[in-house]
Every structure is written in C-alpha cells, then in structure tokens.
Symmetry: D2
Subunit: 109 residues, 4 copies
C-alpha cells in the first residue's frame, strides 16, 4: 500500500463510521476543497507570510489534502501519477530557457 | 523516501531549474492553492457531478496537491502525519453517535 | 429604480436573451462568485499589489459583483440594505476601543 | 451621490474609525473577497440550494460586496460602469445564436 493509499484508507474508515459517503458527491467535495483552501488563506490575511500560525496551517492543509484524496478516489485518479504527469506537461509549457526567473503565465511567455 | 517526499523532490527539481523559489513565499503559495481549487470547481460549474471531464480533473487536482506540498515544505509540515492527526481531532469533534448520517457542522451538533 | 436594481435589470436582460436562468440555481451562482473571486486573486499572484493590471481587475471585479447581484436576487436580498446592516453588526463585533489599529479577528479580540 | 458611492462612504467611515486602511492593500482585499466568497459557498456545502440559510446568505454576500467596493475604490474603478461594460464584452463572447440555452464556456462554443 502506498502512502497516499494508506491516508485514503484512514479517511474512508472515518467517513464510513459516520455514514458520510452519501454527502461526498464530487461537486461538493470540490466545493469543500475550495472552502478549506480559503481557510488556509485566512491564516495569511492582513499579515505577512512569516506571521502565520504553523499549527493552524498544518491542520488546514491537512483538510485541503483530505478532500483532494477523497475527490480523486471518486474518479479513480492516482494523484501521485497525476502530479508526475502534470510536472511533465508544465515542463513543456514553461521551458527553462523562457521561464527561468520569471513568474509570467505560460500564455504570456 | 516516502511517496510524498518523492513528489516534493520532483516539484523542487522543476522549481529550481526555473529559479522560481524566489516567488514561492507562503502567502502566494496559499493563494495558488485557492486559485487551483477554483479551477477544480470550474469543472463542475453549471453541471452535475457526473459531467466532469476526468482528464482535466486529474490535472487540476494535481495542481492543488503540488502547491499544498510546496507550502507544507516551507513550514516543515509532514502532511501525512498532519492528515492522521486531523482525523483524530475530527473524531473528537464529530463523535459517531452524534454525527452519524448528518452533514451538520460540529459547532451545530 | 436604484443603481443596483438597474444593474440587475441589465444582467437579467443579458441572461434571459440567452435562456440561462435554468443554470442559475443558487448553489452554482455561489460557486461562480468563488471562481470569479479566484480570477481577481490570480491578478495578484506572485506579484505585489501595485503590479496588478487595472483593466483586468476592473473586469474580474465586475464578474464577482454580477454573480452577487444574481444570487441576492434569487433570495430577494436587498444588497444595499444588507451591507448597511452588516456594518452595524460589525460595529458591535469590532468596537473602536478594542479594534483600533489591529487586524485581529473578533473571536480573538 | 450614487447608491454605490453611498455604500462606499459607509464602509470608509467604519474603516477609518478603526484605523484599518493600513491593512487594506489591494492584494489582501482581493484575498478577503475570496475568503468571504468561500463563506457564501459554505452555506451550500453538502446541501441543495433551497436549504440555504437566507439570513446568513444575506450577511455573507454583504461581506463579499463590501470588499469588492473597497478594492475597486483602491483603483478608482467605477463598478457600475464596469458591470455595464462587461455585459457588452460578454455579449460579443456569447452571441445569442451560439450561446442560447447552453452553459458552455466561450472558449468551447
């Protein structure tokens, strides 16, 4: 079992004990990702990055990741493979010689 | 090396080849998580969950996860541990006997 | 007709010409607000505030506002009244003597 | 004074009494819009649209609108004009004969 599969198994156990799969349709899981992402951002609001509370950040990031794992599972997506694949795609969109040291979006490079 | 460490190593290699660490302060990484989360949600907009494009979903979820890994790394957060820890915290907030079959927020249980 | 009612009338005309009311259930309109809000934020990503493109900002803010007006209309909410009302509520949550010069959330004041 | 100018004047009075303009740089105001938009969305999470709490919706929409007004003001954007202008732009992107009855993004029409 990979590390992500083991995390997913823990999330499934928690969910199924509470009979919550009925709520976890993909559209609501996507919504949950956004809501948790906003809670990550709220930790930085009106502040500079170094003033973030590291314990709260840890917990909010865990929430974002958990909903990502559950949504990916609804569609049989292997997230580790997907990340590796996306890095390869981005390597084409952002060739080193064009993108080095620049934060420009690929559509404007 | 764990699976998440290996993914992070790939993300670092991609980032460092392009000299992009300079842009990756935590506040902007948090912002990037939200923006990518919105791109996940856009795949569901004006549609029902089953009409989502699975290839686009795969790529957008990979983006959310990638920025989560990079932000966690900025604060030396072990995301696998954090998820396990958060499941335990949620087990207290949402005891099975109270939460079973209900989508109510813990503050209203 | 108030200014907001006139804007809403323009949005309704645009919507009804395209027969789009069928898509504008409140849950999707809320989602649309978030997605447009993320497009506002993308204009600031990896940048400082003064580097924002003012024309793009103008258009993205218009999108956020438009979906707010449409969602409010679905629930017969008078947004001008709601804003005035919320300012009064916030005046209680953030009394001047406690909140002056501080960006602390009311729950931590 | 237009309706939006009057709302902005109320927001400024509230802000200036608390000496909060110092926190209201545009990047953080954009972030605040997203965070409040997520609070609107949280009212719909795991639910269907008709189960939303109308009083909470009223307040959260007021928050989104308030930060939009403050951010627009930072850049001297006339939001009423911007909305009218954006409707005209969208009329070109989504011509009635192509877009009628379809929720397709203009890039895919």
């Amino acid at each position: 079992m990979t590390q992500l599969e083991s995390l997913l198994a823990q999330l499934h156990a928690f969910r199924d004990e509470r009979d919550w799969q009925q709520f976890h349709n993909s559209k609501d899981l996507a919504l949950a990702i956004s809501i948790e992402a906003a809670e990550v951002n709220e930790l930085f609001l009106w502040k500079s990055a170094q003033d973030v509370d590291p314990v709260k950040l840890r917990h909010e990031l865990a929430d974002v990741m958990s909903y990502c794992l559950l949504l990916a599972d609804n569609h049989a997506i292997d997230l580790a493979q997907a990340i590796t694949e996306k890095i390869h795609l981005n390597a084409h969109k952002y060739p080193v010689e064009k993108a080095k040291g620049k934060a420009t979006k690929y559509t404007d490079l």
